[in-house]
Amino acid sequence: MCEKILYWASTTLGVLSLAVLVTNVSVDSMNRKLQDEANQRQAAIMKANNMGQVNQGLAQALAEAAVKKSDGEIRSLLKSQGITLADAADAKKKP
């Protein structure tokens, strides 16, 4: 009787172990894919940080050209990107 119980206990434990092993491997595989995705996204964010500096410098240079040299084309280019500039006359009036 005791042997029968032990037999079924070891069989059940073996089956459960196999099931847990399959789950383990599949979740681990998913984790690797998620890790790759997270790394790619992080690299894109870091790249954009560098690009942000260029973007800021370019926008500043364009804004200076638009305001100081009254360049309407550059002003409209900036406006198309949501960057609106106050007129030079208005800027002088404001303290």
């Binding site: 042997e3 032990l6 037999y7 206990a9 070891s10 434990l13 073996g14 459960l16 172990s17 847990v20 092993l21 789950t23 383990n24 979740v27 681990d28 998913m30 984790n31 998620l34 890790q35 995705e37 997270a38 790619q40 996204r41 992080q42 690299a43 894109a44 964010i45 870091m46 790249k47 954009a48 940080n49 560098n50 690009m51 942000g52 500096q53 260029v54 973007n55 800021q56 410098g57 370019l58 926008a59 500043q60 240079a61 364009l62 200076e64 050209a65 040299k69 360049d71 084309e73 550059i74 280019l77 900036l78 198309s80 990107q81 949501g82």
Partner: protein
Amino acid sequence: MSMGDIKMSNKDSGVAAGQLLLPLTMVSCAVLGLLAFNTVQIVQGHGALKQVISQQDKPLEEAKKIESQLTALALGTKKLADAGNGNAQGIVEAMQKAGITINDKPTGEAGNATQPQSPSVGGVESSAPVAPPSQP
């Protein structure tokens, strides 16, 4: 070797098949416990990774906005420079001096994502460390 010999050897060693069941059960129990513990840890890691990815959503959106704005500004400036706008030409020259060249065709996003010394977004490529262009 006959069956009688095998039975004899089992009897000699004093171990019956039934007696192996208890240690086998204990080993199975230990293996299951180990695997279960490992699986719990991996599932927790899965949750943490998902959280990291969801936290990256907003910065990534901002990054895409910056990239698209830079691409539009750079290509617009290049277009104006090509059309003869002196101010735009000055800015393009200043960018070239800083090692930043503007291509007419936007480059791939993933292609230069892992090159910090040669960053590239849309139509902008840099062969030098990134520095804001100065107004000529």
